[in-house]
């Protein structure tokens, strides 16, 4: 294990999770998160402070460009989130950029996610009388079509109700929908590239189907298969997620002193802790 120092001799799962999300960002990418996405939000600032200093970070719901917030608050449009930004986009300016293909990456989650990375944030159960009315999709049903790459994430994989055979409602576009794939639909965006869950890290194969690539050290392939509602592709070389570096952990702790990232996890997940000797 490389890069671990005093600071990082031990860490919690929520810290490692946002580090894994951060690593899906490449330097010089234009990156956006939606509202209500503390893990993605923290991850973007971690990436900008570590391996992606030249990314263009668009703070979701504030549309502030490259801010240095003093802390991440529990709501996505507090003024603290534009501190240090020389410029904030107008609402339409961001969404236009996303629709014309000028945004390279967006973080996206869902109450349900199918094998192709279609997501449901609208309603679980029949649309006319839903079992659970979820909050809604924000701008996703348009911009998921055109943004360069999507990093999906969920902290509820283990429930068995999140990675499903078929979404009750498709709010945001994955690789293939019942109406056809992205080429048929005329969509210029590349679709889901990564999915990070509390069980593992996944990419998508050439058919656009989710594929297990890395496991957290306390998770087995069988754990993942049991929690996944469709026949998952497993890569030949499933590895373990690289531990966080001290630089990454320091960034997480500095960016998110209030720990808003933790609000995404079941309490049991927050008890998962790790150390260099683990």
């Amino acid at each position: 294990m490389s890069g671990t120092a005093d600071l990082s001799t031990s860490w919690t799962f929520d810290e490692w999770f946002v580090v894994a999300l951060a690593r899906t960002i490449q330097d010089r990418e234009v990156v956006f998160h939606g509202f209500g996405s503390p893990c993605a939000q923290v991850a973007m600032h971690v990436a900008r402070r570590t391996h992606a200093p030249n990314m263009l970070l668009i703070e979701g719901a504030m549309y502030a460009v490259n801010p240095d917030p003093p802390f991440i608050p529990p709501t996505s449009n507090d003024a603290s989130l534009k501190r240090g930004a020389a410029y904030s986009m107008r609402f339409e300016e961001f969404f236009d950029a996303a629709c014309r293909g000028d945004v390279d990456r967006m973080f996206l989650s869902g109450g349900q996610i199918d094998r192709y990375g279609n997501t449901n944030v609208t309603a679980v159960g029949p649309l006319e009388k839903p079992k659970v009315k979820l909050g809604g999709g924000g701008g996703g049903c348009n911009i998921s079509a055109t943004i360069g790459s999507l990093t999906l994430w969920t902290t509820r994989h283990r429930s068995g109700r999140t990675l499903v055979e078929s979404c009750d409602f498709i709010t945001d576009i994955g690789h293939v929908t019942p109406a056809g794939d992205r080429e048929v639909l005329g969509y210029t965006g590349g679709g889901p590239q990564w999915l990070v869950s509390e069980l593992g890290i996944f990419d998508y194969d050439e058919s656009g189907i989710m594929r297990l690539r890395q496991l957290w050290p306390d998770v087995t392939v069988d754990d993942v298969l049991a929690a996944t509602g469709f026949g998952l592709v497993v890569a030949d070389d499933v590895g373990s997620v690289d531990p966080p570096t001290s630089e990454e952990l320091r960034a997480v702790r500095e960016v998110d002193p209030l720990g808003v990232r933790r609000s995404e996890f079941d309490p049991a997940e927050l008890d998962r802790s790790f150390s260099v000797s683990a």
Partner: protein
């Protein structure tokens, strides 16, 4: 357009310009710059059958639904993010079928407002195809691009009867000064038949001009000074959002009884000056303390 030079009126008179059945655009977003004083006054006046439209909202839409004022909800999101979770009254009404959910998308609503602003009867969007969103919107159509052959979803104009906006500052003519993000407020102003605005503080025209006018008075039909008129949402640079009050609301709203109790205690029992008394000077002062230091700011959310 509204050319009068003095559009000040009482909150009750302003809210009375909203009629049962109106398509109502709610300004601001999530926990910021929500027109809460107007929302509360609409509840007091017992407005019914509103068709609310907007992007990502929270307590404003949820409270109107909980008060039985809404028949159609056409927002891109209603909720309290990861922090306080799903919107209780919205969720209940949607699951029980007591409102019609026409969930939309930020881009789609923006595009429909643009169609109204631009005076054209349709506009195309890039996405939507392949999703289930059209199941909620029989008004959408598809067209083939004459230049590329692409098939795109096209949407009709959205022209709200009235937009309810809150700004930290404005003048008697209705010029409004806001901080970013303006969210859809400018588009609401241009696309709606009229704007009713509340401001935390009424100032002179020279002052609004000095700060820079965000929404010009010629879109505004009525303006009302209501200190803390966005509470419990934020209205920077004045005050942060009141997370404790939001939490109180969300917990109460989880049952019809709790919802009724909240409305009785906070809304129906008095007017806005009584509301501020009930919230308490100490709580309100605390929300303005964000300017003191980063730590003071952070403490508001701890």
């Amino acid at each position: 357009m509204f050319v009068d030079s003095d559009k000040r009126m009482s909150l009750a008179d302003a809210a009375a310009l909203v009629h049962d059945g109106d398509v109502v655009a709610l300004g601001g977003g999530l926990s910021a710059r929500l027109p809460m004083a107007l929302v509360r006054e609409l509840v007091r006046q017992g407005r019914r059958d509103l068709h609310v439209v907007g992007s990502a909202h929270s307590i404003d839409v949820d409270m109107l639904i909980g008060a039985g004022a809404v028949s159609v909800c056409e927002e891109s999101y209603v909720g309290f993010e990861q922090d306080l979770g799903l919107a209780p009254a919205y969720r209940r009404a949607a699951e029980e079928g007591t409102i019609r959910v026409k969930e939309s998308c930020c881009v789609t609503i923006l595009t429909q407002l643009r169609a109204a602003s631009m005076g054209v009867p349709f506009l195309p969007v890039r996405g939507i195809k392949g999703t289930d969103v059209p199941r909620l919107h029989s008004e959408y159509a598809e067209m083939t691009c004459p230049f590329t052959g692409d098939v795109l979803v096209v949407v009709p104009p959205l022209r709200p009867d009235v937009a309810l906006l809150h700004a930290p500052m404005g003048d008697a003519r209705g010029n409004l000064v806001m901080e970013q993000p303006y969210v859809l407020d400018e588009h609401f102003a241009q696309a709606s038949r009229s704007v009713i605005a509340t401001v935390d503080r009424l100032v002179d025209t020279d002052d609004v001009a000095g700060f820079g006018v965000t929404i010009p008075g010629h879109f505004v039909r009525a303006i009302v000074e209501v200190p803390f008129g966005a509470h419990p949402a934020s209205s920077y640079p004045g005050y942060a959002y009141d997370r404790r009050h939001m939490d109180t609301y969300v917990k109460a709203a989880r049952t019809p009884e709790g919802m009724g109790g909240y409305l009785q205690e906070w809304v129906l029992s008095g007017d806005e000056s009584e509301y501020r008394v009930r919230v308490g000077e100490e709580s309100l002062d605390r929300l303005t303390s964000w300017t003191e230091s980063d730590d003071a700011w952070k403490e508001l959310f701890a």
